[in-house]
């Protein structure tokens, strides 16, 4: 008879969520990324109180004021002003609002669509799976940037349309990952048990499946958040995303493009903000993947 090993009962009682949270708090990149996102988020929320200027009010007497690090710069406009005399730091702060807002609203839409499709395909399999797979293939066949540009250009750009279009385009990764995560669960014993004791399908999906695919869902959400912000920036850069008087970092880069030769920092500043935000989201995403992967499977 093999020797019986006794596991300490306390360790069994800890919930996976507590384990994940505990590991996250000990994860370096979670802290670094989270802190950067928090700072950008606070800057976005409190933008109107952080700066005396308005992001869209033009002051043609103050065109192209140099930033503070230049010889003729001053603290009145720490990042200088743009070609229409608008304070660049103010535009940067207000740009954070649009980027984050579009990013979060978008993954709300794409996450809902993708998760619903993926879970349905993974749980029921059969023809549901076939249909979902076909829809995913169709979606992957359509070029994202081009489709978004066409719709926005023909309907007319607005923030809500932008959110809708990006949300309706970027659900594919949610669907693919949720499908395989659900597939792995669908044949587990506890699902069969739940079915045997007469749990309704709704109850099984909400109480048994959903809590157990939250890990991968959060990881995909972080990837897609970055993806959505990048897509918004690209569309705005091409002139068919966020429209004035709204500000977005992609739009700022587009407006500064003509200054590449003489004032490259005007591209570098909103560009760096964008890179920093995406980098921070990716850091948190990587950390979340580490902490939600079961022990020993990393």
């Amino acid at each position: 008879m093999p020797p019986v090993t006794h596991a300490p009962p306390l360790q069994i009682a800890v919930s996976p969520t507590r384990v994940a949270v505990g590991r996250a708090l000990r994860h370096g990149s979670f802290w670094v990324g989270g802190l950067i996102i928090l700072v950008i988020l606070l800057a976005a929320i409190f933008a109107p109180w952080l700066t005396p200027y308005d992001p869209s009010i033009q002051d043609l007497g103050q065109r192209f004021v140099a930033p503070v690090w230049a010889e003729d710069g001053s603290w009145a406009h720490p990042l200088g002003t743009d070609g229409l005399g608008r304070d660049y730091l103010t535009r940067l702060l207000f740009g954070a609002r649009i980027s984050l807002m579009i990013g979060f609203l978008t993954i709300l839409i794409s996450g809902t669509i993708g998760t619903a499709m993926g879970v349905a395909a993974g749980y029921w399999g059969g023809w549901v799976d076939l249909v979902v797979n076909f829809i995913i293939t169709i979606r992957l066949t359509l070029p994202v940037v081009l489709v978004a540009l066409v719709v926005v250009a023909l309907i007319g750009s607005s923030l809500s349309l932008l959110v809708m279009v990006i949300g309706l385009l970027l659900w594919d990764r949610f669907a693919i990952v949720m499908r395989s995560a659900t597939q792995q669960l669908a044949s587990r014993e506890y699902i069969t048990s739940a079915r045997t004791i007469g749990s309704s399908t709704t109850r099984i999906l909400i109480r048994e499946i959903m809590p157990n695919i939250m890990g991968p869902l959060i990881v995909v959400a972080s990837i897609e958040l970055a993806h959505a912000i990048l897509l918004e920036a690209a569309l705005s850069f091409l002139g068919l995303g966020v429209q004035p008087p709204n500000v977005s970092w992609g739009l700022m880069v587009a407006e500064a493009k003509s200054q590449l030769l003489f004032r490259p920092w005007m591209i570098a500043v909103p560009g760096a903000a964008l890179v920093l935000l995406i980098f921070a989201i990716n850091l948190v995403g990587d950390a979340l993947r580490d902490v939600t992967t079961p022990e020993g499977k990393a």
Binding site: L140, L142, P143, A153, L154, V253, I278
Partner: protein
């Protein structure tokens, strides 16, 4: 194998058919094409005239069938703005995008395969870390910023390369790098994991024991196997690049399909737009089909399951 090919061909056909409907509906249902073509400040009677002239007043299903019917005869319609047949417009722009795509893919493979192999041969060393960080940094850098950065460094500051146009080979260097860079992380990771697996295999150990040179072991006995899935990934990435070239082409004023699409979108040249949408989708569908068939041909396990 025949069954597998037929099944994949059927799926590709269905995908292309549905995509053509979507391309058509996107252009015809996002607002009023007649109003967009008539331009801002056009009177109601102008718009009505445009609507009748281009047949937008007919039922959508008839317009779609008419479009598809003409497509099948090689007639892609006519650009109202350029006053040319869409086929001729496309023929002018496709070679530029095709050149860009092939060069970008070549750059991506030339960078990512050696890095992937090195990272696999020396896991968890400096080379492995550098290639990992290259991928992480690349994911955070939007392609238009990367392109503008290249433009500033090599075009404006060092003045080594031309920054706009497509008349010489030198014009393609920066756009290819800017576009191809985004395919490198995925190809690199796949090469790395494939090499890590194959270098543990018995036949590689045997090859080593035979006293073959390390180079020969790595290339002939290692990479040859690890490269199989990379081939199909490369085909898919090429498809992504064709769709994503719109940003790069616009920045570098490369007169390819992406640039044409951007211009056509702004002048509501809907016959050109729907032709490009369909063209890119078909190219992607065919490339994934080729990828799947290549995979099945190179790896018998796939076509059996």
């Amino acid at each position: 194998m025949l069954f597998f090919i037929l099944k994949r061909l059927l799926v590709t056909f269905l995908v292309v058919a549905v995509t053509s409907v979507i391309a058509f509906l996107l252009v015809h249902m996002s607002g009023d094409p007649a109003a967009a073509m008539a331009g801002e400040g056009a009177s109601a009677s102008d718009i009505a005239a445009v609507r009748e002239l281009f047949g937008f007043d007919r039922p959508l299903i008839l317009q779609y069938l008419d479009w598809i019917g003409r497509l099948l005869q090689g007639d892609f319609g006519r650009s109202y703005y350029l006053r040319m047949d869409v086929v001729d417009v496309l023929a002018e722009h496709v070679p530029v995008t095709a050149t860009l795509g092939v060069l970008a893919l070549t750059f991506a493979l030339a960078l990512s395969i050696p890095l992937g192999v090195l990272a696999a041969l020396r896991p968890n060393t400096v080379i492995d870390r550098i290639s990992l960080w290259l991928a992480v940094a690349g994911q955070a850098l939007p392609s238009f910023l990367f392109a503008l950065g290249l433009m500033y460094l090599f075009g404006v500051y060092l003045r080594w390369l031309p920054i706009s146009g497509d008349s010489t080979w030198a014009h393609f260097i920066m756009p290819s790098v800017a576009l191809g860079y985004y395919a490198t992380p995925a190809i690199m990771r796949l090469t790395r994991s494939g090499m890590l697996d194959v270098m543990q295999a018995d036949h590689v150990r045997t090859a080593r024991a035979y006293g073959l040179t390390p180079w020969r072991v790595v290339v002939r006995h290692g990479l040859r196997h690890a490269i199989v899935p990379v081939v199909s990934l490369a085909a898919v990435q090429l498809g992504f690049m064709l769709g994503g070239s719109i940003v790069i082409e616009t920045i570098f004023s490369l007169k390819g399909i992406g640039h044409l699409a951007w211009e056509s979108i702004q002048r509501a040249d809907i016959e050109v737009i729907q032709a490009i949408l369909l063209l890119i989708a078909v190219a992607y569908a065919i490339l994934t089909l080729v990828a799947d068939l290549l995979n099945a041909a190179l790896d018998p396990r796939i076509r059996i399951s």
